[in-house]
Amino acid sequence: MEKEYLVKKWLNNDLTDAESKAFNALEDAELYQEIIEESQRFNGNINAEVASFKTLDEKLVSKENTSIHWLKLVSGLAAVLVIGFTLFKLTNKDQINSFTTTLAQNETITLPDNSIVNLNELSELEFDSSNWDDNRLLDLKGEAFFDVEKGKRFDVTTDFGKVSVLGTEFNVLSRDSIFKVSCYEGLVQVAYNDNEVKLPAGTELVLSSGKALKSNIVVAEPYWLKEMSVFENTPFATVIKELEKQYNIKVTYPSDLKMNFTGAFVHNNLENALISISKPLKLTYAIQSTNEVIIRNE
């Protein structure tokens, strides 16, 4: 105890003369001294010497320079953009607007007359906004939902036919070989091949391999607006194809599976979507990685 007290005091350079003598009389005093002496060799001033401020200053200066550079670059770019945009505005009266959506991406587009278009994934929409009020004409590839404000004719042209309306809500799907128009409000006129069909609210028209089929709509709004996919007695492969598209994943499943699926899956939670597909069909699934899923027989 006495010793600890002395050593601590000594460490703090706080010994009185008498205590100093007592400390020196300690058996380990010499070793303690030697330890302190030799520890000087580990001095950070020599072993971890910092460079002079000048060297740091150079780094700081170069930083400043680059930031000025940046400012110049950015302001230059901004100026070019502004001038470019103004010129574009002045010279280009025919304004073509086009929108493209990729996998699992929806886009809501407000047209010049406040009509609203919801563009589903993997779709393209193009229109000329310069003379919109007199000429409401859009080109569509893929699928979109339209909520049209009242006004002049509103035409949607697709690869399969033309859909015309006067203020209504309707959905157009034109992808691969499917052409489907669903009318939710008002009246829609569909022109395909040489035929013309009028679709009142609550009906839809499906055109597949040249045959047109008119039926009633079950859902009050297109399912994809609610971020889910709905199927009625659909082959399993088709369901999986849609799932792969929505989540951008690769799904492997037994090829001998010849079941039909009635139900729906959500677009915002893969886990839930997989459950809603596999459970009713008595299947199991495993998520291998972020973009790989395996579905098996139970």
Partner: protein, 174 residues
Amino acid sequence: MPKSLHQDICDKIRFSKLYEKYAQSLSNILFYKYGELLNPSDKVQEAFIKLWENCAKIKPEAAKSYLYTTANNMMLNAVKHQKVVLKYQQVKPKDYTNESPEFVLRKKEFLKRFERALSQLKEEERAAFLLSKVDGKTHKEIAEILGITKKVAEHRIYAALNKLKNELEELNRK
């Protein structure tokens, strides 16, 4: 804490004063704690550069602790699995030329063991010990730098000394 005259340290002269005042002692602390493998002096410079970039946001009285924290964190990020290596100077602080070969040999062995014992200390013990006995900092200063109490600082220095002693004692008995 003393109130500062200025609002910030965005001024080359004030900033350089700050560098002269703290850079070396900060580098020493990092060296004592983490050894030399991770370039403590580089980390100090990086911390100062960071301080300069953020100079408008940092009050002068907070600059010191900002520097210490930043440099320490940079070190911790780099440190993870590195082993501490403290290197002793090759230059001898004392002239041993008059000593016997036995003495020189013992000294060599002593230093080798010292180096090893020092690396085996806990980093907080090593830092407190070297700050006190090499940099000549008072217990109060050490307590401030390491964010501990004076009592703890005293204890750590004492513990470090004892551990070093135990490691080296054996050699002395020979």
